[in-house]
């Protein structure tokens, strides 16, 4: 910044920005701290900030008593499976729309986006009944199907905005050199598309991991991912703050780390390329 930036200005804004950042982050920090307290200390007034007896027993208990790993595996399977399947459908579609657009492409894309406007609660009843009749309630397959379809429009849009930026001249040059469509895909396009595909995967994995409408309504125990598992702590008799915090910390840690890596793509992905 070549403007009249004084040291005072920098110090004041640095202080203010850090303060705001810490306030926003504080609930997460407070939860992580509580996960290392005993139940009594987690509940105590006045609260202790750092000078309590640190313990990791909550983490052990969460795993032992409630089979945390089972739900974590469900989350991984459901989020991972739904995104991978969505990619299988979305990559060809986005490829076609980005590289061979027709007069209908724009309309198709907007229509896909409009399916996202439909509130899930509008189709809760039929989906629930169909799942009940097909035996898909509380199964991972069922959740994979629903989350895959729910995220498909976002996946296609994200891929489309990435593919659109790959220069077409390169493809034409390859074609002139006699490359077939398959060769073109394998040797020219794929290497250039990998970063976009990776960010799409990452962001949609995060969205699916945190999805909490369908998972809460369509699963109870067997296929319950972490969102549902954490919700079981909401019962009034289950006021175990330290254990709730330990389970929550475990549930959000991997996503927080993945999310921090993908924050640049987040802006692009969630705004459908409208803000870069």
């Amino acid at each position: 910044m070549a403007r009249r930036t004084t040291t005072t200005h920098a110090v004041v804004s640095t202080g203010a920005a850090w303060l705001v950042g810490l306030i926003i982050f504080f609930p997460i920090l407070w939860m992580i701290l509580a996960s290392f307290k005993t139940e009594l200390e987690a509940f105590a007034t006045p609260p202790s900030f750092l000078f309590f007896e640190w313990t990791t027993e909550n983490y052990g208990i969460v795993q032992e008593r409630s089979d945390y790993m089972h739900h974590a595996m469900n989350s991984l399977t459901i989020a991972g499976g739904s995104v991978l399947i969505a990619m299988l459908f979305a990559i060809p579609a986005a490829y076609a729309m980005a590289f061979a657009p027709t007069e209908r492409t724009r309309g198709t894309l907007l229509w896909m986006l409009s399916t996202k406007m439909m509130p899930p609660v509008g189709v809760l009843v039929p989906i629930y009944l169909v799942f009940r009749d097909l035996g898909l309630l509380d199964t991972r397959t069922g959740l994979i199907i629903v989350l895959c379809l729910g995220n498909l429009p976002i996946v296609i849009w994200m891929l489309f905005t990435y593919f659109k930026e790959i220069p077409k001249d390169i493809l034409e040059a390859a074609r002139m050199d006699g490359a077939t469509i398959l060769k073109e895909l394998a040797f020219v396009l794929t290497p250039m598309a990998v970063p976009g595909i990776a960010s799409t995967l990452l962001l949609n994995f995060i969205l699916a991991w945190n999805e909490a409408f369908w998972t809460l309504n369509l699963s109870t125990s067997n296929a319950a991912p972490l969102t549902v598992f954490i919700a079981s702590y909401s019962s009034p008799e289950g006021l175990f703050w330290a254990k709730l915090s330990a389970a929550s910390t475990l549930a959000i840690a991997p996503i927080l780390i993945l999310g921090w890596f993908s924050q640049k793509q987040l802006v692009r992905g969630l705004t459908f390329g409208a803000v870069k």
């Binding site: 007034t45 509130p119 509008g122 629930y128 169909v130 409408f213």
Partner: protein, 290 residues
């Protein structure tokens, strides 16, 4: 480059996705419409009758509908206002020459990645609990009466939690937009003697118009269907004070097993969402043209 061959290939590649989404949209929606004309309760199977529009009359004249419509609008409007205003502030602040900007950005963005059930329960218990929550302790230390958040201002409590979840999104998008603002333009304005105040109103804010529109559009889509936060904290209560449309329909369907009524409600929700979407798209249409 759209030769006949590529056009056919393009259609073949797009067809599976289009087909899937079409089925995903049309079949359940058609079923919702069909169910909404039946008297159909899962507790009394085999007694389904065609009753025309009775479910709609019942749903729309139910006082619960108006209450939940009001709650939905208050929730969406408040969260939009809070996140856009605070988000602009946060973005402007982080855009200043500060030390450790990347770390501050990580701190600010973090809540967005926390799953809704976790953020709702952590806020409800660890922070907002009337006796042992941190807010209660702060209030007592300052000599104030601790607030029993979920009893005294339940809807506002939900608004607070949801705003915390969406503030990072608004901040990050507005920050990204700010960073693309031409530094020279601001400099020139300052050389011409513009005060920080007028630089903000005449240069920064117009530049932010488009990203703010995008934030409003996308947040609205998600905020109209806030569910998990209500599900794990208040269960829609006390009374109907925190029941939004999504929660009302859920409780009709999966608590009262009233398939017909819930379907009518679901269709009303779809219509409402479409009205909002149309309104928004028209309002922002110009802004979004690329």
């Amino acid at each position: 480059m759209s030769t006949r061959q590529t056009r056919v290939l393009g259609r073949v590649l797009t067809a599976p996705s289009v087909g899937l989404l079409f089925v995903w949209m049309i079949v359940p929606l058609a079923m919702t419409i069909y169910f909404s004309t039946l008297r159909y309760n899962l507790l009394n199977p085999g007694t389904e009758d065609f009753i025309g529009l009775e479910n709609y009359v019942y749903f729309l004249t139910d006082p619960a509908f108006l209450a939940s419509l009001r709650n939905t609008l208050v929730l969406v409007g408040s969260v939009l206002l809070i996140t856009v205003v605070l988000g602009t502030g946060v973005a402007l602040l982080i855009d200043q020459p500060i030390f450790g900007r990347n770390i501050v950005r990580l701190l600010v963005i973090a809540p967005f990645f926390v799953m809704p059930t976790v953020s709702a329960l952590v806020w409800k218990n660890l922070l907002m609990h009337p006796v042992s929550g941190l807010f209660a302790w702060i209030a007592t230390s300052l000599g104030l009466r601790p607030i029993d958040w979920f009893a005294e201002m339940p809807l506002f409590s939900i608004i607070l939690i949801v705003s915390w979840q969406w503030l990072p999104f608004a901040s990050l998008i507005l920050l990204t937009a700010l960073q693309s603002l031409d530094e020279e333009q601001k400099e020139a304005a300052e050389m011409d003697g513009a005060k920080a105040f007028s630089t903000f109103f005449y240069i920064t804010l117009p530049h932010l118009a488009r990203p703010i529109t995008v934030v409003i559009l996308i947040e609205t889509i998600f905020l109209l269907t806030v569910f998990a936060e209500i599900f794990v904290t208040t269960g829609g209560g006390p009374g109907l004070q925190t029941t939004n449309i999504a929660f009302l329909i859920y409780s009709q369907a999966l608590i009262q097993y009233d398939v017909g009524g819930a379907s009518a409600g679901g269709l009303v929700a779809v219509v409402l969402a479409n009205i909002v979407a149309m309104f928004l798209v028209r309002m922002v249409g110009k802004n979004l043209e690329t």
